[in-house]
């Protein structure tokens, strides 16, 4: 499903919750609107938490893709 091309990738594998979310937020904060950011997380909590945060804050969740031992979660900055 990851047919969307991402502008930036953040490798947060090895960080514990909420580390990957914090890395994603930092990257979104410094990126212009419409930027698609993908975060790599080996923490299973973040795979559930990040989509929840995206929904709450109002960005667009592009995909959550499970790889071997980690997740790729992509978000488009909406505002």
């Amino acid at each position: 499903m990851s047919m969307v091309s991402v502008d930036k990738s953040v490798d947060a594998r090895g960080a514990y919750c909420p580390g990957p979310l914090m890395e994603l937020i930092k990257t979104l904060k410094t990126s212009p609107v419409n930027t698609a950011v993908e975060v790599w997380s080996s923490d299973s909590g973040s795979a559930k938490d990040i989509p929840e945060w995206v929904k709450k804050v109002g960005h667009e969740l592009l995909y959550v893709q499970e790889e071997t031992g980690y997740w790729r979660i992509a978000v488009r900055k909406a505002k």
């Binding site: 514990y16 979310l21 914090m22 945060w53 804050v57």
Partner: protein, 132 residues
Amino acid sequence: MENVPKLSIVMLSSDLEKLHAGALMGSVAAMSGMTVNVFVTMNALEAFRKDVIEEQKFLSGTIGNELLSKKVPLFNEMLREGKDMGDLYLYGCAMAMDVMEWKQEDLIDEFDDIIGVTKFFGLAEGGQILTV
């Protein structure tokens, strides 16, 4: 401004796990668009002293020991990130500071002010309060 959801967290304990849980909830709430007031009082205050953080002299149990050995960013770093990326304020309890004869400069630089309970209630009014 009045419609921004508000969360206030009272940190009482010097247990590393409780400090970690409070800081984690506070920083994530701040980054999710909430205004967060963290009020540090009683034994929790000692853990925010610069010398205690530098020497990592924390009270810790099973999970706290693992947080330390895995070098997970601790409560002070999470709160700093919450401040950098959200609307998070850190307050020390004036009573505990006075009793211990500590000064604000003994604490980490992230403290916004040293306040009393009346001021804290004013800040917390209308929002949720968590005590850890």
